[in-house]
């Protein structure tokens, strides 16, 4: 029987009322008295030496208040990478400075070299166009393999375009090589994980104000993690003391990773607000978003799978070139390494894994974590090569996977890629998937498609991912320069309602609905009396933000811990009120009662007493009812899933239509099934977009050819099928109090290989020996593959 309230219920999302009515308040909606406008002058070439910049005309134009160039920021720090990666030879990665504004050199199309502050947007744009820059254009460095040859460098001071050459697990390298050399069968696949542009609905926007009286700054900005942004600005970039800087991320219209990071525009508006003495706002236009938001993916990989005669996996070996773009974005070095290489054992008992990743600077926009961040790349490589292997061995792709699955009794399981999976049951997921997807009916559906002149293919995938990042002590060992805990404060007001201040920022996830369900369940009170406060460093204790499917597993656990503290203190107060021993007080349905009696006080009465402590034993109980908890998890959480889909391919045009898609996921315990289903739908949309439609394409001159919606294909509703989603097979996480696993990225991780496997199956069914097509599987690419087969 589904519940109406609390954990396991699916109340409608309360935040949707304002979103759907257009009543959300985004950064650009916030109008401040005296506000001015910042516009950036951006490079139109990919690589060049700045010979001179002349701002004199711009400075004299109407309405212009200030003009900044890179020279204004040479004294300030750079925007750092959050993870230190060491190369195989022990050398630390190369970390060229990422300046607020380009100085000396421009390194990608869209690289900002100057900014104008003016009274109006038009005045600022006119002045930005009047800035004269003389650039000596250099050949663009675009291809990751070519970039490692020759002496044309994105950053001359490091003398190479290689950021690092990382091996994981280096100690397994020789044994893996040996296993592959001696294997009965080796399947090899070379593939590209296509570069994506996040395309959040709301473009980035930052507004700074400065109060001279207290030397204080306030930054409103489109951020997934305002505290981390404050920390980066304070400790690395601007040196503004943390207690003099408030960062507020109000409603934010989607991020998908791209708004995790601190960007130079935030530093610029802060500096400008102080110089002009008025608030300064910058709002990205859509072209700037395409050119300068951190992109995602962009790996070139060769993967090999060694098996014995029965199809038992013996080793995976990969070599990957990861494009990090022109500058290191904050998580850029973690994404292709510890969020990718550590997942390269997949759902399998394979004993040996060796992953080599070369990160490469190019004259393209920075690349960083994007929904899934490294794990889609891992899953895609694994599940594509396994599918190819099944075909080569003449085995059923589901049977081959099952043969190599970790079995339920093997948990906790130490994977060959260095992680300890706490729970899972991959066979149960596959069983459920075969049931809900009616896999048995595929043959009949294929016959029907063929009668209509279409090719039908079936594709399957099994994934496991590591999210809910993560234990600080583990990520510290792996190179993280920050801790990855989270925090919550539960404030019970005198009149009995609650404000819960959380470090996780909600920009579409549904925290405002889901977190109250947890607190309401624990206290036995109405969730409507609980409000979530997030996104403001002056209001919440601390937070590491929202990414890596961590909100509920990490911040939700902090909420649980803080609420437990509230219950403990409330019991003390109730014991005092009821003149009973604290150990005899029980909390049920919002009532504190003395065990074995009919004496009780309500939660509301206790709250009121906490703030009107007329007869309190003050030596035992402080007034007030407010508690804070920081939570640092013991491990990642490990969601897993079995996905399948059926596609129809038009043999005359190469067009692919996704007809059916089933996603069966293990998210552990589920707090709000409707919200989880929504997260899966969104992830599937992005994954299918990657598989069939989306591609950021630079030409050899470094121009982004897909810099608008005319050429960058976003998935639309009619590109997507109706999904069958199931999360009934959850195995609870063993180490967090709610038993939950992250669900935000799963769909984007599991769906791309599912789609590609299905298309290859469709083409194979027509006798075409097509073994691989690189994403996106556009009609042109599919048709060409068929023609050339």
């Amino acid at each position: 029987m589904p519940k109406d309230t609390g954990i396991g219920a699916s109340p409608l999302r309360r935040e949707d009322v304002r979103f759907l009515k257009g009543a959300g308040e985004y950064t650009d909606d916030i109008k401040t008295y005296g506000e001015t406008v910042a516009v950036f002058a951006r490079s139109t070439v990919a690589n060049g030496i700045i010979k001179s910049i002349d701002t004199s005309v711009a400075e004299g134009m109407p309405g212009v208040l200030a003009v900044f160039t890179g020279a204004d920021f040479v004294e300030v720090g750079g925007n750092p990478a959050g993870w230190l990666i060491n190369s195989r030879d022990g050398e630390p990665m190369k970390e060229p400075k990422r300046p607020v504004l380009a100085h000396g050199k421009v390194r990608h199309v869209g690289d900002a070299y100057a900014a104008v502050i003016a009274e109006t947007d038009r005045q600022a744009r006119d002045a930005a166009e009047a800035i004269e820059i003389d650039i000596e254009e250099l050949p663009a460095i675009i291809d990751v393999k070519e970039a490692l040859k020759g002496d044309n460098f994105v950053h001359d001071e490091i003398g190479t375009n290689q950021c690092f050459d990382w091996g994981w697990i280096e100690d397994n390298r020789a044994a893996t090589d040996e296993a592959i050399k001696n294997a009965h069968h080796v399947t090899t696949l070379e593939l590209v994980n296509n570069r994506l542009i996040p395309n959040a609905m709301e473009p980035r926007c930052s507004m700074a104000s400065y109060k001279a009286s207290g030397d204080e700054y306030v930054l409103h900005t489109t951020s997934q993690n305002p505290h981390l942004t404050r920390l980066l600005i304070s400790a690395f970039v601007m040196g503004i003391p943390e207690n003099k800087l408030t960062v507020i991320a109000p409603d934010v219209g989607g991020g998908f990773g791209s708004k995790i990071y601190h960007y130079g525009e935030e530093a610029l508006v802060l500096a400008a607000a102080k110089r002009v003495g008025r608030p300064v706002k910058w709002t990205s236009d859509r072209t700037e978003a395409f050119l300068t938001d951190a992109h995602g993916r962009d790996h070139v990989t060769k993967i090999e799978l060694a098996t014995d005669a029965e199809g038992n996996f013996q080793a995976f070996r990969t070599e990957t070139y990861a494009n990090v773009g022109a500058y290191l974005s904050n998580f850029a070095t973690a994404t292709p390494t510890f969020l990718h290489g550590t997942l390269m054992a997949g759902n399998y008992t394979v004993p040996l894994v060796y992953v080599n990743v070369k990160a490469v600077f190019t004259n393209t926009a920075p690349v960083d974590a994007y929904r899934g961040a490294g794990r889609p790349e891992a899953s895609y490589s694994l599940e594509r090569v396994i599918d190819k292997c099944a075909r080569e061995l003449g085995m059923d792709p589901i049977a081959l996977r099952r043969k190599n699955f970790i079995k339920p009794e093997q948990y906790p399981f130490a994977s060959a890629a260095g992680l300890e999976y706490d729970s899972g049951n991959y066979d149960a997921l596959m069983d459920k998937m075969e049931e809900v997807a009616d896999v048995k009916g595929f043959a009949a559906r294929r016959a029907q498609s063929e009668a209509n002149g279409m090719l039908r293919g079936f594709g399957v995938n099994a994934y496991v991912e590591a999210c809910g990042i993560a234990p600080s002590n583990l990520v510290g060992v792996l190179g993280s320069r920050v801790g990855l805990y989270d925090a919550a404060t539960v404030r019970v007001n005198a009149t009995g309602n609650l404000s819960v201040m959380v470090g996780a920022h909600s920009h579409g996830q549904g925290h405002e609905t889901v977190f109250p369900q947890v607190v309401a369940e624990m206290l036995g009170i109405d969730a409507a009396s609980i409000d979530i406060v997030h996104g403001d460093t002056s209001k919440i204790p601390f937070g590491m933000g929202t990414y890596g499917s961590r909100s509920l597993a990490v911040c939700g656990s902090a909420v649980v811990r803080a609420t437990e503290k509230i219950i403990n203190k409330a019991k003390k107060i109730a014991a005092h009120m009821l003149e009973a021993a604290e150990g005899d007080i029980e909390l049920k349905d919002g009532q504190f009662s003395v065990a074995g009696t009919d004496k009780s006080v309500s939660f509301g009465e206790v709250a009121l007493k906490a703030y009107i402590p007329h007869d309190f034993p003050l030596e035992d109980i402080e007034p007030g009812l407010e508690e804070t908890a920081f939570y640092d998890p013991a491990n990642f959480t490990f969601p897993s899933g079995a996905y399948c889909c059926e596609v129809e391919v038009d043999p005359d045009t190469g067009k692919v239509r996704v007809d059916r898609f089933a996603a069966v996921d293990d998210f552990g315990n589920v707090i709000n099934p409707m919200v989880v289903t929504g997260q899966v739908h969104g992830g599937l949309g992005q994954g299918i977009g990657q598989a069939l439609l989306e591609a950021a394409r630079y030409n050899s001159d470094g121009q982004l050819e897909s810099a608008s919606y005319m050429d960058y294909a976003m998935p639309r509703a009619d590109d997507l099928p109706f999904y069958t989603v199931d999360h009934s097979q959850g195995t609870p996480c063993t180490h967090n109090p709610l038993g939950v696993k992250g669900c935000g990225e799963a769909g984007a991780i599991g769906s791309p290989p599912t789609i590609v496997n299905a298309v290859i199956d469709a083409l194979q069914s027509s006798g075409k020996n097509v073994t691989h097509i690189d994403m996106p599987l556009t009609p042109h690419r599919v048709w060409s593959a068929m023609k050339n087969a």
Partner: protein, 262 residues
């Protein structure tokens, strides 16, 4: 966007007069021009909106001819042409999305002659006549190349007159991002022969596939296309398809249009 003046004349004569100003530019539905202005890629001194010119609005029937005013939006054509010229109405109903169809105009589309616009294919396949403030031009003489037409400076498309075929169909294979046609083929069957016009594919803009016209004028069936091939010379090569693919799609889409129209 740069600053500009705007005028909203109510007669063709006033519009023509207003367009004599230096750097003045006519504004139809603005579906191409407004994004161009927003990107600061054009800086007209003055926009002359044609949306209030009454004589350029609406659809009328004159015997076997459908006359559509140049300022008529796609949504109007999609509904009001349905009974007399369903092939054209269906084309109009699939241009862009509802927002585009309720702003974009036939005159704007024809005058802009985007190589991937839908309407030029219908005009050329129908043997339409383009009516301007000064003259009447046959569609065969109007579309001169990518974004090029026979229009002179300051000349306005006031109406397009479509002979109504016995049967017609438009097949659009969409470019996945823009959903403009990667290849669009309009087939129109008249008593005296078949006309086939192709959009989206050629570097020269919309064109007639005359070999197919001859074959289909003999036998109006997809089989009639067997053995015909379109050369990939001069076809558009871009992110979404090369010339060989577009040439192939022309034949596929023509066959589908014939099948749907038969």
């Amino acid at each position: 966007m740069y600053a500009f003046d705007i005028e909203r004349p109510t007669t063709v004569a006033d519009a023509v007069e207003a367009l004599k100003a230096d750097e003045a530019q006519p504004l139809g539905g603005g579906q191409t021009l407004i994004p161009t202005l927003k990107a600061r890629l054009a800086a007209p001194s003055k926009l002359v909106s044609l949306g209030n010119v009454k004589e350029m609005q609406g659809i009328s029937i004159d015997g076997d001819t459908l006359r559509i005013g140049g300022a008529t939006i796609h949504a109007t054509v999609a509904t009001e042409a349905r009974s007399r010229y369903p092939g054209l109405a269906r084309l109009a109903s699939k241009i862009g999305d509802p927002a585009v169809r309720n702003r974009g105009t036939i005159g704007g589309s024809i005058a802009n002659n985007d190589p991937a616009a839908c309407y030029p294919a219908a005009a050329l396949a129908s043997g339409a006549t383009i009516i301007t403030n000064t003259r009447q031009v046959a569609a065969d003489d109007f579309f001169l190349g990518m974004f090029e037409t026979a229009l002179d400076e300051g000349e306005i498309v006031t109406a397009v007159s479509f002979p109504i075929p016995e049967a017609s169909n438009y097949q659009k294979f969409v470019q996945p991002a823009s959903r403009f046609p990667l290849v669009g083929v309009f087939v129109a069957k008249f008593a005296d022969g078949v006309r086939v016009a192709v959009t989206g594919a050629s570097e020269g803009g919309v064109f007639r596939w005359t070999e197919a016209e001859q074959a289909l004028s003999g036998t109006f069936a997809p089989d009639a296309l067997d053995g015909l091939n379109v050369s990939e010379d001069g076809m558009i090569n871009d992110l979404h398809g090369d010339g060989e693919y577009r040439a192939h799609l022309i034949k596929i889409m023509t066959g589908r249009a014939v099948k749907a129209a038969s």
